[in-house]
Amino acid sequence: MRPSSPRTGPEDDQWRGRGSVRRTSRYVALLLLAVCALVVAACGSSDDDKGASTASGGGSGDKVKISFLTHWAPETVRAFERVTAAYTADHPDVEVEIRAVPFADLLTTLRSQAGGDNGPTMASIYDLWLPELVRDGVLSRAPAANAAEVTKEWPANLAGAASVDGSTYGYPNEVDLYALNYNKALFRAAGIADPPRTWDELIADAKKLTKKDGDRITQQGFGLISSWAAGTVHPFTSLLYSNGGELIADGRAALDSQQAGETFDLVDQLANKEKVSSAQMSTADANTTGPYLENFVSGKTAMIIMANWWESALRAGMRGRFSDIATAPIPVGPSGDAPHSVSYSWLTVVNGKAGEAEQRAAWEFLAYLNSPESGEEGHSAMAALLQSMGILPSRTSDLEAYRGDLSREFLKAYVEELPNAKPFPIVLGGQEFTESLQRNLEALQAGQMSAGDAQERSQADAESVLETAAG
């Protein structure tokens, strides 16, 4: 650096050094200031940006840009795109974007993005997640007109599942329940005429349908799904309900009942005592596919309790052999009175952190999507999308419009059991409750725990989870 003065000598050097230090410290201070400014700019953006986004309608001219987060498969997303195209043709001021993620990433995506400005405006959610999303203020309460429509047009139990403390938070779209799925060809080969109606028949039939090579099961009589919370817990719950038991009663865990004990015993018998179920043949992966599906499709699993929505996966996998598959009510346990499948629903909600214009546009779009105007022959576009996947729609007018389709062979048992189905308990901590039960059931299926221990631990874990969630 050139000196700023022609002076020379030790004093000058000292002076020059101090001046450089001052200049350097100014540069350092400026740099630090710039870094701080960047941090402040990065941290303090949200409110202003949100306002700007709302005012400009999402930054795309005068259009309001809204997005829909779903876990649907690509072919369903393509069909949905045709619906949104029809809507935006009539509503040129709105742009609808569809965001699809695998099922296993749906809740994560929702939770991690919902609080931000770029989060999805609408999302399809499992009813079990609703209480916590409402508690965290993530969801928008339905406007009065939308709430009134949900109350009027949907069965009361499903409208209730879309509500928390009397306020409606979304449009119910699908309802799912469980039935015994069985392979008629394997039943014929084993000389069994009818599906089992009781647990004793279930065990007896499963024994006849199981084939082994030494100790190794090559064809399992009954598939117990693992590595997937709902896949493990919902069939168990259906068996528990069909044995007169409950998961949660009066707000407290009810897995210490005699009925629950008998259900844990049943799992133990199938997996360990009679060895008619193979843990290796029934695992699931993150996309809710995997060996449990592959083995049923390839005729290596004779019976399994599964939800109605997997019909499309079976059809795609089995093609001509799909006609071998039949469905029947859940077998009834010794303490039960009748088959009672567990049921759950999905609903479409609106992001409470989205801008005002986006929220309004989203509720208008959802009203359209779920109304008969968006579909043909009296059903809604949403119902058509769900039916393409073999899923039961939930709006009363949709159920009526699809009456013919819903009576088809595969869905018949599900539709007939709908009035007897009991909902999975929707409580704070529901997801953790499900996962803790899944873990204990898997340990029982793997022979790591006795039925009694699994029951005792499940009850203790459930009590702990519910107590913590209640805060």
């Binding site: 050094g17 450089s20 230090v21 350097t24 410290s25 540069y27 350092v28 740099l31 630090l32 870094v35 960047l38 941090v39 296993a104 809740l107 994560t108 939770r111 991690s112 919902a114 609080g115 916590e132 999303l133 508690r135 965290d136 203020g137 993530v138 190794r216 693992s226 590595s227 997937w228 843990a279 290796q280 043949m281 695992t283 992966d285 993150a286 995997g290 060996p291 592959e294 083995n295 390839s298 290596k300 997801q431 953790e432 996962e435 803790s436 873990r439 898997e442 340990a443 793997a446 790591q448 203790a460 874990d461 702990s464 989870v465 913590t468």
Partner: protein, 297 residues
């Protein structure tokens, strides 16, 4: 001797990078520490966090469900890391020595094949390996059948699921560590080998008396990097096993995501992250201490 002016210049030049590290590393760490002392839902603003002191840490080491799951995830993580290192380091030394010896034919091809696996994204590796491991339809079991070995459960059994993920990790990372070992081998002067050969040392003796001792620094680096990579394992668990069966592949990164994001228990997940950080620091310090002890000897 460094002058004050030089110090200021150094500070000025370092400020941008130190500032960025501060923003993107230190602040998140401090924030995580702060959150670990709170009850906080990840879907709410930081301002809503409620002070709970050390209660989250207390829960992690309790006998309740939270503590059991955490300790199993911590144990799985370190078993996964230990097995990965135990397989990766010897194999990378073996392949490194083979690749380094120009006399062996096909080393360029071997080097390319080995490193190619490292270029494949882990998510793709996980998807492909999940199909390879399929118990009934998978090619791995079919290949074993040619040698009279019965089908293995791989990812479907609590006893084999974690080691199956370790194999997947080793397959993907081996090329990278082989390259590191080759780089280390090129730093050993040929004259050392020549001198040892004159003294009568041959293959195995050369490996244990010359190669491995002179590769110590490289191997230390490999162990630390392999450890950190292994502890960060996430994709294969999230894609294939989701922590199952019976939590046997539930590793901490996946568990923290599950607790922090899916269950929205941000404070508890932060306490897990802090505990993992402390455990990792302790292990890395131990590795360095052991290495230093070896140097002193």
């Amino acid at each position: 001797m460094r002058t004050a002016r030089q110090n200021w210049w150094a500070a000025g030049l370092l400020a941008p990078s130190v500032g960025l590290i501060g923003v993107f590393v230190l602040i998140p760490i401090v924030l995580t520490l702060w959150l670990s002392l709170h009850r906080w839902s990840t879907a709410t603003p930081f301002g809503d966090a409620e002070w709970v002191g050390l209660r989250n840490f207390d829960a992690l080491f309790s006998s309740a469900l939270v503590g059991r799951d955490f300790r199993q995830a911590l144990r799985n993580t370190f078993v996964y890391a230990g097995l990965s290192i135990a397989l990766l380091i010897p194999l990378s030394i073996l392949f490194g020595v083979i690749v380094h010896r120009a006399a062996v034919r096909g080393t360029t091809f071997l080097r390319t094949v080995l490193f190619a696996t490292y270029c494949v994204p882990m998510i793709a590796v996980a998807i492909v390996w999940s199909k390879l491991y399929s118990p009934t339809e998978g090619p791995v079991n079919q290949a074993l059948g040619w040698f009279g070995i019965g089908p293995q459960p791989w990812l479907s059994d609590t006893g084999t699921a974690l080691i199956s993920l370790v194999f997947l990790n080793v397959w993907q990372q081996l090329g990278y560590f082989t390259v590191l070992v080759v780089a280390g081998l090129t730093q050993i002067p040929p004259s050392v080998y020549e001198a040892a050969a004159l003294d009568g040392a041959r293959n195995v003796k050369l490996l244990f008396k010359i190669t491995l001792p002179l590769l110590r620094r490289t191997l230390l680096f490999c162990v630390v990097i392999a450890l950190i990579n292994a502890i960060q394992v996430f994709e294969p668990v999230a894609t294939i096993t989701q922590g199952g069966p019976v939590g046997s592949t539930n590793v901490l990164t996946y568990h923290i995501r599950q607790v922090g994001i899916e269950r929205s228990q941000g404070g508890l997940a932060s306490a897990m992250a802090v505990t993992l950080l402390l455990a990792l620091m302790a292990v890395v310090t131990l590795v360095f201490a052991l290495m230093r002890k070896g140097d002193d000897r």
